[in-house]
């Protein structure tokens, strides 16, 4: 299976309430001593496309191998798409939008 590179959507109270309301709280993983996170997978191509579209974002190649620092508005859109589609694998749809 090809390697994927996650986008970490960190779950604050507001996001968690939305996930619970949609019955999706179990999509969350727990990381770093109690933080809730949605790990949204991207392929290498999707990663590169996201970094091109959002130059402020950064692929942390040294430590976490994840895409970080996407603007909050973008993460909110990804989060809303997860709630709508009821799955975390939504980047293909997100990029089409």
């Amino acid at each position: 299976m090809a390697e994927t590179f996650p986008i970490n959507v960190w779950i604050n109270e507001e996001r968690y309430a939305k996930l619970q309301a949609a019955g999706l709280a179990d999509l969350c993983q727990e990381m770093l001593a109690g933080l809730k996170v949605l790990r949204v997978p991207t392929t290498a191509e999707q990663r590169d496309e996201l970094l091109k579209r959002y130059p402020m974002a950064k692929f942390d190649s040294a430590t976490t191998k994840s895409i970080e620092l996407l603007p909050k508005a973008v993460k909110d859109q990804i989060f809303d798409l997860i709630v709508e589609k009821k799955k975390v694998d939504v980047i293909a749809e997100f990029l089409k939008k």
């Binding site: 970490n8 959507v9 960190w10 779950i11 604050n12 507001e14 990381m31 770093l32 001593a33 109690g34 933080l35 402020m56 950064k58 942390d60 190649s61 040294a62 430590t63 976490t64 994840s66 970080e68 620092l69 996407l70 909050k72 993460k75």
Partner: protein, 418 residues
């Protein structure tokens, strides 16, 4: 008695008395310089870059690029150069042997004795220093942006810069730092290079290195200190604001995560080049001049992207003898969070490799940007609260660098008019 700095040379401050300065600069041609050059003038004049007495001449640049040494044999890894365009050289009518006055934001800062005017193949310089010619690399990009010619020669500062709040108490020149270390009674010190707000990975990196440096010394009274030396220089949008970096490091001690008698926060002015292993060597020289005895080097020290192997900065020190560098590298692996150990732990100790969770400054920034408060095991609450405070007080509402911050921030330093 003189203080001995990097390369076994005495540290000499190249600064004129105010009375003599006025006389010395009379009638000199004025050349305005950008912030990077003003910073390097400060670094040279106070001895942060000892044994450099000025901007490098061609022979030194060549020797540094090819051999990582100055022409006198002293280890040096990054060219320190002064650039001007052909047009500027012609407009100012500058030639070898001239003395000119460098100014910054309208204030005189240094006399520059021009001993050499030369050109240099920038691609070759990039390849030698950064190991790549790709313009994507920020150090390479900076190299390509240099103007047509380099000018080499001694500089003498004509007035001391004013270091503005909140940085004032953290700026210690090499001679001041050495005095401070003596006052604290530290026999050994270990430098922590940073350009980040600290998370607990950094904290444990410092604590582990402190233990490592402590070695066989007596423990009735603490005789080893961690010297946090934050690099303050060019900022990129999205970086933490400088004020947050420095104050958050200091709050680790104020909040008791480090005792008062083992920790000191300080700053050095320098635009990071991201030269990985070569920058590690540069950092060693800089901190040796500050009188620091040990320097921690973690994973991917001063690297960027995937240009360097994560531990190149460890290996490069194998090339040098103790005579070459009067500072000892403390080589450190990663600190990570392990849910099995239920703590931040060390790669050299924890065997749950398939369970571990890495975290980085970038990841923490991402957590904060998502409006989440990281747990205290990962990020100290005092640091988190202070970030928010710094955002309000210094960052126009943002803890990260924005265009607005760059335009409106209080400058780190200013030079007085003579």
């Amino acid at each position: 008695m003189s203080e001995i700095g990097h390369g076994g040379k005495p540290i000499v401050e190249r600064i004129l008395d105010p009375g003599k300065a006025k006389e010395r600069i009379k009638g000199l041609k004025e050349i305005p310089v950008r912030e990077q050059i003003a910073v390097e003038v400060i670094d040279i004049a106070y001895g942060f870059f000892s044994p450099l007495e000025g901007f490098m001449k061609k022979a030194d640049v060549e020797s540094v690029c090819k051999k990582m040494r100055l022409t006198d044999g002293t280890v040096w890894s990054i060219p320190i150069v002064f650039d001007l365009s052909d047009k500027e050289i012609s407009d100012y009518g500058i030639k070898t042997g001239d003395e000119v006055l460098l100014t910054y934001q309208g204030a005189p800062i240094a006399v520059f004795e021009i001993e050499d005017i030369y050109d240099y193949n920038k691609q070759e310089m990039a390849k030698d220093v950064y190991g790549t010619t790709e313009e994507k690399h920020p150090g390479v990009k900076r190299t390509y942006q240099y103007k047509d010619k380099f000018l080499g020669g001694k500089i003498t500062m004509v007035s001391k810069p004013i270091i503005n709040e909140p940085f004032t108490p953290f700026f210690l020149t090499p001679l001041e730092m050495r005095k401070k270390i003596k006052e604290k009674g530290w026999i050994r010190t270990v430098a922590h290079q940073t350009r980040n707000v600290p998370h607990t990975g950094h904290e444990w990196l410092m604590k582990g290195s402190w233990l490592s440096a402590y070695g066989e010394l007596p423990v009735e009274k603490m005789v080893v200190g961690v010297v946090v030396n934050a690099i303050i220089g060019e900022k990129r949008p999205g970086d933490y604001i400088d004020e947050a970096i420095v104050l958050c490091h200091d709050v680790l001690r104020k909040a008791g995560y480090f005792r008062e008698d083992v920790h000191l926060t300080s700053i050095s002015l320098w635009d990071m080049r991201y030269a990985g292993p070569r920058e590690a060597v540069f950092h060693a020289a800089l901190r040796a001049n500050l009188g620091i005895t040990h320097h921690m080097f973690g994973r991917d020290h001063a690297g960027v992207g995937t240009y360097y192997d994560p531990y190149d900065a460890h290996r490069i020190f194998d090339k040098f003898s103790e005579k070459d560098l009067n500072i000892k590298p403390v080589r450190v692996l990663e600190w990570w969070y392990c849910p099995v150990c239920a703590e931040v732990t060390y790669m050299g100790l924890c065997a749950h490799k398939d369970k571990i969770q890495n975290f980085s400054g970038t990841l923490i920034r991402s957590i904060i940007q998502d409006g989440v408060k990281p747990p205290r095991l990962i990020f100290r609450p005092e640091v988190f609260d202070l970030i928010l405070e710094c955002a309000e007080k210094y960052g126009q509402g943002d803890a990260f660098v924005t265009q607005k911050y760059l335009e409106n921030r209080n400058p780190v330093f200013t030079f007085p008019k003579l």
